[in-house]
Protein backbone atom coordinates (compact mmCIF):
# COMPACT_ATOMS: atom_id res chain seq x y z
CA UNK A 1 0.00 0.00 0.00
CA UNK A 2 2.73 2.43 -1.00
CA UNK A 3 0.21 4.80 -2.54
CA UNK A 4 -1.83 5.13 0.61
CA UNK A 5 -0.98 8.84 0.83
CA UNK A 6 -2.49 9.57 -2.57
CA UNK A 7 -6.13 8.82 -1.99
CA UNK A 8 -8.70 9.91 0.46
CA UNK A 9 -9.05 8.11 3.76
CA UNK A 10 -12.57 7.14 2.70
CA UNK A 11 -11.16 4.48 0.39
CA UNK A 12 -9.01 2.78 2.96
CA UNK A 13 -8.37 -0.83 2.19
CA UNK A 14 -10.61 -3.18 4.13
CA UNK A 15 -9.36 -6.76 4.36
CA UNK A 16 -11.97 -9.44 3.73
CA UNK A 17 -11.03 -11.35 6.84
CA UNK A 18 -9.70 -9.71 9.98
CA UNK A 19 -6.68 -12.00 10.00
CA UNK A 20 -3.36 -12.10 8.22
CA UNK A 21 -3.04 -13.81 4.84
CA UNK A 22 -0.84 -16.54 6.29
CA UNK A 23 -3.41 -17.47 8.87
CA UNK A 24 -6.21 -17.42 6.29
CA UNK A 25 -4.31 -19.81 4.11
CA UNK A 26 -3.42 -22.06 7.00
CA UNK A 27 -7.08 -22.33 7.96
CA UNK A 28 -8.10 -22.97 4.36
CA UNK A 29 -5.45 -25.69 4.19
CA UNK A 30 -6.67 -27.15 7.47
CA UNK A 31 -10.24 -27.26 6.22
CA UNK A 32 -9.07 -29.40 3.29
CA UNK A 33 -7.14 -31.52 5.75
CA UNK A 34 -10.29 -32.04 7.81
CA UNK A 35 -11.97 -33.51 4.74
CA UNK A 36 -8.91 -35.58 3.85
CA UNK A 37 -8.73 -37.26 7.23
CA UNK A 38 -12.51 -37.52 7.50
CA UNK A 39 -12.41 -39.54 4.28
CA UNK A 40 -9.67 -41.81 5.60
CA UNK A 41 -11.26 -42.32 8.99
CA UNK A 42 -14.73 -42.76 7.45
CA UNK A 43 -13.41 -45.43 5.11
CA UNK A 44 -11.73 -47.15 8.03
CA UNK A 45 -15.00 -47.22 9.95
CA UNK A 46 -16.86 -48.68 6.98
CA UNK A 47 -14.27 -51.37 6.42
CA UNK A 48 -13.84 -52.09 10.11
CA UNK A 49 -17.51 -52.51 10.95
CA UNK A 50 -18.48 -54.05 7.64
CA UNK A 51 -15.86 -56.76 7.95
CA UNK A 52 -16.90 -60.30 8.71
CA UNK A 53 -13.95 -60.65 11.01
CA UNK A 54 -11.44 -58.24 12.37
CA UNK A 55 -8.36 -59.10 14.40
CA UNK A 56 -8.20 -58.09 18.03
CA UNK A 57 -5.36 -55.74 18.88
CA UNK A 58 -3.29 -58.50 20.45
CA UNK A 59 -3.70 -60.73 17.41
CA UNK A 60 -1.68 -58.21 15.46
CA UNK A 61 0.80 -57.27 18.17
CA UNK A 62 -0.70 -53.87 18.79
CA UNK A 63 -0.04 -52.67 22.33
CA UNK A 64 -2.62 -50.20 23.61
CA UNK A 65 -0.21 -48.71 26.10
CA UNK A 66 2.02 -47.31 23.34
CA UNK A 67 -0.96 -45.67 21.71
CA UNK A 68 -1.84 -44.05 25.02
CA UNK A 69 1.77 -42.94 25.57
CA UNK A 70 1.85 -41.42 22.09
CA UNK A 71 -1.40 -39.56 22.79
CA UNK A 72 0.16 -38.13 25.92
CA UNK A 73 3.32 -37.14 24.04
CA UNK A 74 1.33 -35.30 21.36
CA UNK A 75 -0.82 -33.49 23.92
CA UNK A 76 2.35 -32.35 25.69
CA UNK A 77 3.78 -31.12 22.39
CA UNK A 78 0.60 -29.15 21.71
CA UNK A 79 1.02 -27.39 25.03
CA UNK A 80 4.67 -26.59 24.37
CA UNK A 81 3.78 -25.01 21.01
CA UNK A 82 1.21 -22.80 22.71
CA UNK A 83 3.73 -21.82 25.36
CA UNK A 84 6.33 -21.05 22.67
CA UNK A 85 3.81 -18.72 21.03
CA UNK A 86 3.06 -16.99 24.35
CA UNK A 87 6.79 -16.56 25.03
CA UNK A 88 7.36 -15.11 21.57
CA UNK A 89 4.51 -12.65 22.03
CA UNK A 90 6.01 -11.53 25.31
CA UNK A 91 9.30 -10.89 23.50
CA UNK A 92 11.13 -13.72 25.18
CA UNK A 93 12.93 -15.41 22.27
CA UNK A 94 15.13 -17.71 24.32
CA UNK A 95 12.20 -19.15 26.23
CA UNK A 96 10.23 -19.49 22.98
CA UNK A 97 13.12 -21.36 21.44
CA UNK A 98 13.28 -23.66 24.47
CA UNK A 99 9.61 -24.57 24.15
CA UNK A 100 10.01 -25.02 20.43
CA UNK A 101 12.97 -27.35 20.95
CA UNK A 102 10.92 -29.35 23.44
CA UNK A 103 8.14 -29.64 20.87
CA UNK A 104 10.62 -30.92 18.32
CA UNK A 105 11.91 -33.50 20.82
CA UNK A 106 8.37 -34.63 21.71
CA UNK A 107 7.46 -34.97 18.03
CA UNK A 108 10.58 -37.07 17.50
CA UNK A 109 9.65 -39.25 20.49
CA UNK A 110 6.25 -39.80 18.91
CA UNK A 111 7.86 -40.93 15.67
CA UNK A 112 10.32 -43.12 17.57
CA UNK A 113 7.51 -44.94 19.35
CA UNK A 114 5.69 -45.29 16.03
CA UNK A 115 8.78 -46.85 14.46
CA UNK A 116 9.11 -49.22 17.40
CA UNK A 117 5.48 -50.21 16.90
CA UNK A 118 5.95 -50.70 13.16
CA UNK A 119 8.93 -52.94 13.81
CA UNK A 120 6.83 -55.20 16.03
CA UNK A 121 4.45 -55.68 13.11
CA UNK A 122 7.13 -56.21 10.50
CA UNK A 123 8.98 -58.75 12.63
CA UNK A 124 5.84 -60.88 12.71
CA UNK A 125 5.29 -60.77 8.96
CA UNK A 126 2.51 -58.18 9.15
CA UNK A 127 3.09 -56.15 6.02
CA UNK A 128 0.47 -54.34 3.98
CA UNK A 129 1.41 -56.13 0.80
CA UNK A 130 3.24 -59.06 -0.72
CA UNK A 131 5.95 -60.25 -1.07
CA UNK A 132 6.65 -59.43 2.57
CA UNK A 133 3.18 -60.05 3.91
CA UNK A 134 2.71 -63.54 5.31
CA UNK A 135 -0.96 -63.06 6.10
CA UNK A 136 -3.67 -65.49 5.04
CA UNK A 137 -7.30 -64.79 5.80
CA UNK A 138 -8.55 -68.29 6.49
CA UNK A 139 -7.18 -71.75 7.19
CA UNK A 140 -8.12 -73.45 3.93
CA UNK A 141 -6.31 -75.63 1.41
CA UNK A 142 -4.49 -72.63 -0.02
CA UNK A 143 -3.11 -71.81 3.37
CA UNK A 144 -1.91 -75.38 3.91
CA UNK A 145 -0.37 -75.31 0.46
CA UNK A 146 1.48 -72.07 1.21
CA UNK A 147 2.86 -73.57 4.41
CA UNK A 148 3.97 -76.67 2.57
CA UNK A 149 5.66 -74.64 -0.19
CA UNK A 150 7.48 -72.50 2.32
CA UNK A 151 8.71 -75.57 4.19
CA UNK A 152 9.84 -77.14 0.92
CA UNK A 153 11.73 -73.99 -0.06
CA UNK A 154 13.46 -73.88 3.29
CA UNK A 155 14.38 -77.53 3.12
CA UNK A 156 15.62 -77.24 -0.43
CA UNK A 157 17.96 -74.38 0.37
CA UNK A 158 19.27 -76.30 3.39
CA UNK A 159 19.81 -79.49 1.42
CA UNK A 160 21.70 -77.63 -1.28
CA UNK A 161 24.52 -77.00 1.15
CA UNK A 162 27.22 -79.62 0.91
CA UNK A 163 28.45 -79.23 4.45
CA UNK A 164 25.80 -78.69 7.05
CA UNK A 165 26.27 -77.67 10.62
CA UNK A 166 24.50 -79.40 13.46
CA UNK A 167 22.07 -76.50 13.75
CA UNK A 168 21.16 -76.85 10.10
CA UNK A 169 20.56 -80.57 10.51
CA UNK A 170 18.25 -79.72 13.38
CA UNK A 171 16.41 -77.30 11.15
CA UNK A 172 15.84 -79.98 8.53
CA UNK A 173 14.55 -82.31 11.23
CA UNK A 174 12.17 -79.65 12.45
CA UNK A 175 10.89 -78.96 8.94
CA UNK A 176 10.23 -82.68 8.47
CA UNK A 177 8.48 -82.88 11.79
CA UNK A 178 6.16 -79.96 11.01
CA UNK A 179 5.37 -81.39 7.59
CA UNK A 180 4.64 -84.85 8.94
CA UNK A 181 2.83 -83.96 12.13
CA UNK A 182 0.80 -80.96 11.06
CA UNK A 183 0.71 -80.13 7.37
CA UNK A 184 0.24 -83.57 5.85
CA UNK A 185 -2.58 -84.79 8.11
CA UNK A 186 -4.51 -81.59 7.53
CA UNK A 187 -4.06 -81.65 3.77
CA UNK A 188 -4.95 -85.32 3.58
CA UNK A 189 -8.07 -84.97 5.68
CA UNK A 190 -9.41 -82.02 3.71
CA UNK A 191 -8.60 -83.75 0.42
CA UNK A 192 -10.42 -86.91 1.46
CA UNK A 193 -13.52 -85.07 2.61
CA UNK A 194 -13.59 -81.50 1.30
CA UNK A 195 -15.06 -78.97 3.71
CA UNK A 196 -15.40 -81.59 6.41
CA UNK A 197 -15.19 -80.35 10.01
CA UNK A 198 -12.32 -82.77 10.73
CA UNK A 199 -10.20 -81.38 7.93
CA UNK A 200 -11.04 -77.79 8.81
CA UNK A 201 -10.19 -78.45 12.40
CA UNK A 202 -6.77 -79.83 11.47
CA UNK A 203 -6.13 -76.82 9.22
CA UNK A 204 -7.12 -74.54 12.05
CA UNK A 205 -4.80 -76.38 14.41
CA UNK A 206 -1.96 -75.99 11.92
CA UNK A 207 -2.48 -72.25 11.69
CA UNK A 208 -2.76 -72.05 15.45
CA UNK A 209 0.48 -73.97 15.90
CA UNK A 210 2.30 -71.50 13.65
CA UNK A 211 0.72 -68.25 14.82
CA UNK A 212 -1.55 -68.61 17.86
CA UNK A 213 -3.86 -65.65 18.08
CA UNK A 214 -4.31 -64.04 21.45
CA UNK A 215 -8.05 -63.64 20.94
CA UNK A 216 -8.54 -67.37 20.48
CA UNK A 217 -6.44 -68.32 23.48
CA UNK A 218 -7.63 -65.62 25.79
CA UNK A 219 -11.13 -65.76 24.58
CA UNK A 220 -11.48 -62.17 25.08
CA UNK A 221 -12.60 -58.98 23.82
CA UNK A 222 -13.50 -58.26 20.36
CA UNK A 223 -12.04 -61.52 19.35
CA UNK A 224 -13.13 -62.34 15.87
CA UNK A 225 -16.34 -60.89 14.85
CA UNK A 226 -17.23 -58.33 17.40
CA UNK A 227 -18.68 -56.31 14.58
CA UNK A 228 -20.60 -59.06 12.87
CA UNK A 229 -22.07 -60.49 16.05
CA UNK A 230 -25.55 -59.64 17.13
CA UNK A 231 -26.56 -56.87 19.48
CA UNK A 232 -26.19 -59.20 22.44
CA UNK A 233 -22.46 -59.43 21.95
CA UNK A 234 -20.49 -57.74 24.66
CA UNK A 235 -16.83 -57.40 25.33
CA UNK A 236 -17.27 -59.56 28.37
CA UNK A 237 -15.13 -62.62 28.10
CA UNK A 238 -14.30 -65.67 30.09
CA UNK A 239 -11.73 -65.50 32.82
CA UNK A 240 -8.12 -64.94 31.95
CA UNK A 241 -5.69 -62.19 32.62
CA UNK A 242 -5.92 -60.44 29.32
CA UNK A 243 -4.37 -57.25 30.58
CA UNK A 244 -1.07 -59.05 30.93
CA UNK A 245 -1.23 -59.41 27.14
CA UNK A 246 1.30 -62.22 27.13
CA UNK A 247 1.31 -63.41 23.56
CA UNK A 248 1.01 -67.13 23.09
CA UNK A 249 4.13 -68.51 21.47
CA UNK A 250 3.92 -70.20 18.08
CA UNK A 251 6.37 -71.86 15.73
CA UNK A 252 7.17 -68.53 14.08
CA UNK A 253 8.12 -67.09 17.46
CA UNK A 254 10.15 -70.09 18.55
CA UNK A 255 12.00 -70.30 15.24
CA UNK A 256 12.03 -66.88 13.58
CA UNK A 257 13.89 -68.26 10.55
CA UNK A 258 10.81 -70.26 9.58
CA UNK A 259 8.67 -67.24 8.62
CA UNK A 260 5.75 -69.49 7.79
CA UNK A 261 2.49 -68.08 6.43
CA UNK A 262 0.23 -66.91 9.22
CA UNK A 263 -3.53 -66.95 9.44
CA UNK A 264 -5.33 -63.87 10.73
CA UNK A 265 -8.98 -63.41 9.73
CA UNK A 266 -9.37 -59.86 8.47
CA UNK A 267 -5.61 -59.42 8.83
CA UNK A 268 -4.96 -58.01 5.36
CA UNK A 269 -7.58 -55.33 5.71
CA UNK A 270 -6.28 -54.52 9.16
CA UNK A 271 -2.68 -53.98 8.05
CA UNK A 272 -3.80 -51.93 5.06
CA UNK A 273 -5.95 -49.57 7.08
CA UNK A 274 -3.55 -49.40 10.02
CA UNK A 275 -0.52 -48.51 7.94
CA UNK A 276 -2.47 -46.12 5.73
CA UNK A 277 -3.96 -44.15 8.63
CA UNK A 278 -0.91 -44.10 10.87
CA UNK A 279 1.37 -43.62 7.86
CA UNK A 280 -0.42 -40.50 6.66
CA UNK A 281 -0.49 -39.19 10.19
CA UNK A 282 3.23 -39.88 10.61
CA UNK A 283 3.91 -38.01 7.35
CA UNK A 284 2.11 -35.00 8.79
CA UNK A 285 4.20 -35.29 11.93
CA UNK A 286 7.39 -35.31 9.84
CA UNK A 287 6.30 -32.16 7.98
CA UNK A 288 5.59 -30.50 11.33
CA UNK A 289 9.02 -31.46 12.64
CA UNK A 290 10.68 -29.93 9.56
CA UNK A 291 8.73 -26.72 10.16
CA UNK A 292 9.87 -26.66 13.81
CA UNK A 293 13.47 -27.23 12.77
CA UNK A 294 13.24 -24.23 10.42
CA UNK A 295 11.65 -22.11 13.17
CA UNK A 296 14.48 -22.99 15.55
CA UNK A 297 16.93 -21.17 13.28
CA UNK A 298 15.03 -17.89 13.66
CA UNK A 299 14.85 -15.40 16.47
CA UNK A 300 11.45 -16.09 17.90
CA UNK A 301 10.35 -12.60 18.89
CA UNK A 302 6.96 -10.88 18.49
CA UNK A 303 7.65 -10.40 14.77
CA UNK A 304 7.55 -14.15 14.31
CA UNK A 305 4.45 -14.70 16.47
CA UNK A 306 2.22 -15.00 13.40
CA UNK A 307 4.44 -17.65 11.87
CA UNK A 308 4.61 -19.62 15.11
CA UNK A 309 0.86 -19.43 15.42
CA UNK A 310 0.31 -20.77 11.90
CA UNK A 311 2.68 -23.68 12.36
CA UNK A 312 1.14 -24.24 15.78
CA UNK A 313 -2.31 -24.46 14.18
CA UNK A 314 -1.01 -27.15 11.89
CA UNK A 315 0.55 -29.02 14.78
CA UNK A 316 -2.65 -28.88 16.85
CA UNK A 317 -4.47 -30.34 13.88
CA UNK A 318 -2.00 -33.23 13.76
CA UNK A 319 -2.71 -33.75 17.47
CA UNK A 320 -6.43 -33.60 16.73
CA UNK A 321 -6.25 -36.37 14.16
CA UNK A 322 -4.37 -38.59 16.59
CA UNK A 323 -7.03 -37.96 19.24
CA UNK A 324 -9.47 -39.77 16.93
CA UNK A 325 -7.05 -42.36 15.62
CA UNK A 326 -6.04 -43.60 19.06
CA UNK A 327 -9.41 -44.97 20.22
CA UNK A 328 -10.39 -46.10 16.71
CA UNK A 329 -7.25 -48.09 16.07
CA UNK A 330 -6.28 -49.23 19.53
CA UNK A 331 -9.40 -49.46 21.66
CA UNK A 332 -12.35 -50.24 19.39
Amino acid sequence: MSDSNNHSPMFDYQPALPISNGKTFMWLFLSTEIMFFAALIGTYIVLRFGALSWPSTHDVHLAEIWGAVNTFVLICSSVTVVLALEAAKKNNPSSAKGWMLLTLVLGTVFLGIKMFEYRAKFSHGLYPQSPHSQIYEKPDVYYAQAVRMRLLDLKKSLLEKTERTEAEEERIALIDKISLDWVEPAEKAIRKKPDSPEGRKLLFMLSDKIYPRASIHDHRAGANHAAAAGPTFTLASTAGDSASSAHPVGLNDQHPWLRLPIMIPGGNMWVSTYFLLTGFHALHVIVGLIAFAILLKMTLGPAKAGLIENIGLYWHFVDLVWIFLFPLLYLF
Binding site: S31, A226, S237
Partner: protein, 149 residues
Protein backbone atom coordinates in the same frame (compact mmCIF):
# COMPACT_ATOMS: atom_id res chain seq x y z
CA UNK B 1 -1.96 -4.05 4.09
CA UNK B 2 0.72 -1.93 5.69
CA UNK B 3 2.93 -3.25 8.43
CA UNK B 4 1.19 -0.94 10.83
CA UNK B 5 -2.20 -2.31 9.82
CA UNK B 6 -0.97 -5.80 10.30
CA UNK B 7 0.43 -5.02 13.69
CA UNK B 8 -2.75 -3.42 14.91
CA UNK B 9 -4.69 -6.28 13.42
CA UNK B 10 -2.58 -8.81 15.21
CA UNK B 11 -2.94 -6.85 18.37
CA UNK B 12 -6.73 -6.93 18.13
CA UNK B 13 -6.64 -10.51 17.15
CA UNK B 14 -4.71 -11.66 20.13
CA UNK B 15 -6.33 -9.58 22.73
CA UNK B 16 -7.98 -11.52 25.51
CA UNK B 17 -6.06 -14.74 24.82
CA UNK B 18 -5.70 -17.36 27.45
CA UNK B 19 -3.02 -17.36 30.05
CA UNK B 20 -0.46 -20.04 30.78
CA UNK B 21 -2.55 -21.32 33.68
CA UNK B 22 -5.51 -21.77 31.33
CA UNK B 23 -3.39 -23.79 28.92
CA UNK B 24 -2.08 -25.93 31.75
CA UNK B 25 -5.60 -26.66 32.98
CA UNK B 26 -6.67 -27.60 29.43
CA UNK B 27 -3.63 -29.88 29.29
CA UNK B 28 -4.63 -31.57 32.56
CA UNK B 29 -8.18 -31.99 31.29
CA UNK B 30 -6.86 -33.60 28.09
CA UNK B 31 -4.70 -36.00 30.09
CA UNK B 32 -7.64 -36.97 32.31
CA UNK B 33 -9.83 -37.58 29.26
CA UNK B 34 -7.13 -39.73 27.65
CA UNK B 35 -6.90 -41.88 30.76
CA UNK B 36 -10.71 -42.10 30.79
CA UNK B 37 -10.80 -43.60 27.31
CA UNK B 38 -7.85 -45.83 28.20
CA UNK B 39 -9.97 -47.25 31.05
CA UNK B 40 -12.05 -49.08 28.47
CA UNK B 41 -9.03 -51.27 27.80
CA UNK B 42 -9.08 -52.96 31.18
CA UNK B 43 -10.97 -56.10 32.05
CA UNK B 44 -13.20 -54.62 34.72
CA UNK B 45 -14.56 -52.21 32.13
CA UNK B 46 -14.90 -54.82 29.40
CA UNK B 47 -16.72 -57.14 31.76
CA UNK B 48 -19.27 -54.63 32.90
CA UNK B 49 -19.90 -52.19 30.07
CA UNK B 50 -21.58 -53.21 26.79
CA UNK B 51 -19.38 -52.72 23.77
CA UNK B 52 -21.77 -50.30 22.06
CA UNK B 53 -21.80 -48.01 25.04
CA UNK B 54 -18.06 -48.33 25.37
CA UNK B 55 -17.51 -47.19 21.79
CA UNK B 56 -19.95 -44.32 22.07
CA UNK B 57 -18.18 -43.28 25.24
CA UNK B 58 -14.77 -43.34 23.57
CA UNK B 59 -16.00 -41.26 20.64
CA UNK B 60 -17.64 -38.78 22.99
CA UNK B 61 -14.38 -38.45 24.92
CA UNK B 62 -12.50 -37.92 21.64
CA UNK B 63 -14.95 -35.23 20.56
CA UNK B 64 -14.59 -33.40 23.87
CA UNK B 65 -10.80 -33.58 23.57
CA UNK B 66 -10.97 -32.31 20.00
CA UNK B 67 -13.19 -29.43 21.06
CA UNK B 68 -10.81 -28.49 23.86
CA UNK B 69 -7.86 -28.44 21.47
CA UNK B 70 -9.74 -26.42 18.84
CA UNK B 71 -11.22 -23.96 21.29
CA UNK B 72 -8.19 -23.17 23.39
CA UNK B 73 -5.00 -24.33 21.68
CA UNK B 74 -6.13 -23.25 18.23
CA UNK B 75 -7.52 -20.04 19.73
CA UNK B 76 -10.92 -20.33 18.08
CA UNK B 77 -12.55 -19.15 21.29
CA UNK B 78 -11.07 -15.71 20.75
CA UNK B 79 -11.48 -15.43 17.01
CA UNK B 80 -14.06 -13.29 15.23
CA UNK B 81 -16.98 -14.70 13.26
CA UNK B 82 -14.84 -15.68 10.26
CA UNK B 83 -14.09 -18.91 12.11
CA UNK B 84 -17.54 -20.26 11.26
CA UNK B 85 -17.04 -19.59 7.59
CA UNK B 86 -14.01 -21.85 7.42
CA UNK B 87 -14.80 -24.56 9.92
CA UNK B 88 -18.52 -25.17 9.40
CA UNK B 89 -18.43 -26.02 5.66
CA UNK B 90 -15.43 -28.30 6.15
CA UNK B 91 -17.07 -30.07 9.07
CA UNK B 92 -20.32 -30.43 7.13
CA UNK B 93 -18.46 -31.98 4.22
CA UNK B 94 -16.75 -34.36 6.62
CA UNK B 95 -20.07 -35.35 8.19
CA UNK B 96 -21.74 -35.82 4.79
CA UNK B 97 -18.88 -37.99 3.74
CA UNK B 98 -19.36 -40.19 6.79
CA UNK B 99 -23.13 -40.22 6.27
CA UNK B 100 -23.00 -41.48 2.69
CA UNK B 101 -20.87 -44.36 3.89
CA UNK B 102 -23.47 -45.44 6.44
CA UNK B 103 -25.54 -47.65 4.06
CA UNK B 104 -22.39 -49.62 3.46
CA UNK B 105 -21.95 -50.22 7.16
CA UNK B 106 -25.57 -51.23 7.51
CA UNK B 107 -25.75 -53.54 4.53
CA UNK B 108 -22.35 -55.15 4.26
CA UNK B 109 -22.06 -58.68 5.49
CA UNK B 110 -25.74 -59.04 6.21
CA UNK B 111 -25.49 -62.22 4.22
CA UNK B 112 -22.26 -64.11 4.13
CA UNK B 113 -21.71 -67.12 1.92
CA UNK B 114 -21.53 -70.55 3.46
CA UNK B 115 -17.96 -70.85 2.22
CA UNK B 116 -17.00 -67.69 4.09
CA UNK B 117 -18.80 -68.84 7.18
CA UNK B 118 -17.13 -72.20 7.50
CA UNK B 119 -13.71 -70.71 6.98
CA UNK B 120 -14.34 -67.76 9.24
CA UNK B 121 -11.39 -69.04 11.21
CA UNK B 122 -12.98 -70.37 14.30
CA UNK B 123 -12.36 -73.88 15.48
CA UNK B 124 -15.09 -75.77 13.63
CA UNK B 125 -17.59 -77.35 15.96
CA UNK B 126 -17.64 -81.14 15.93
CA UNK B 127 -21.32 -81.59 15.44
CA UNK B 128 -21.89 -79.37 12.45
CA UNK B 129 -21.51 -82.07 9.80
CA UNK B 130 -25.09 -81.64 8.67
CA UNK B 131 -25.08 -78.01 7.81
CA UNK B 132 -27.87 -76.05 6.30
CA UNK B 133 -27.02 -73.86 3.38
CA UNK B 134 -28.23 -70.73 5.06
CA UNK B 135 -24.91 -70.79 6.72
CA UNK B 136 -26.03 -69.63 10.10
CA UNK B 137 -24.95 -72.74 11.94
CA UNK B 138 -21.37 -71.74 12.60
CA UNK B 139 -22.29 -68.30 13.70
CA UNK B 140 -24.80 -69.67 16.13
CA UNK B 141 -22.03 -71.09 18.26
CA UNK B 142 -21.03 -68.52 20.75
CA UNK B 143 -17.33 -67.93 21.34
CA UNK B 144 -17.53 -70.18 24.35
CA UNK B 145 -17.68 -73.39 22.35
CA UNK B 146 -14.82 -72.54 20.11
CA UNK B 147 -11.19 -73.18 20.77
CA UNK B 148 -11.49 -76.58 22.25
CA UNK B 149 -7.92 -77.45 21.60
Amino acid sequence: MSIQDEKSLQHDDHEGHGSTSLYVSVFIALCCLTSLSFLTYFDFWRNTVPVGFSRAFMLAVSCIKALLVITFFMHLKWEANWKWMLTVPASLMAIFLMAVLVPDIGLRMQHASYERMIYAAEVPADEDTAHDTDGHDDKAHSPSDKAEH
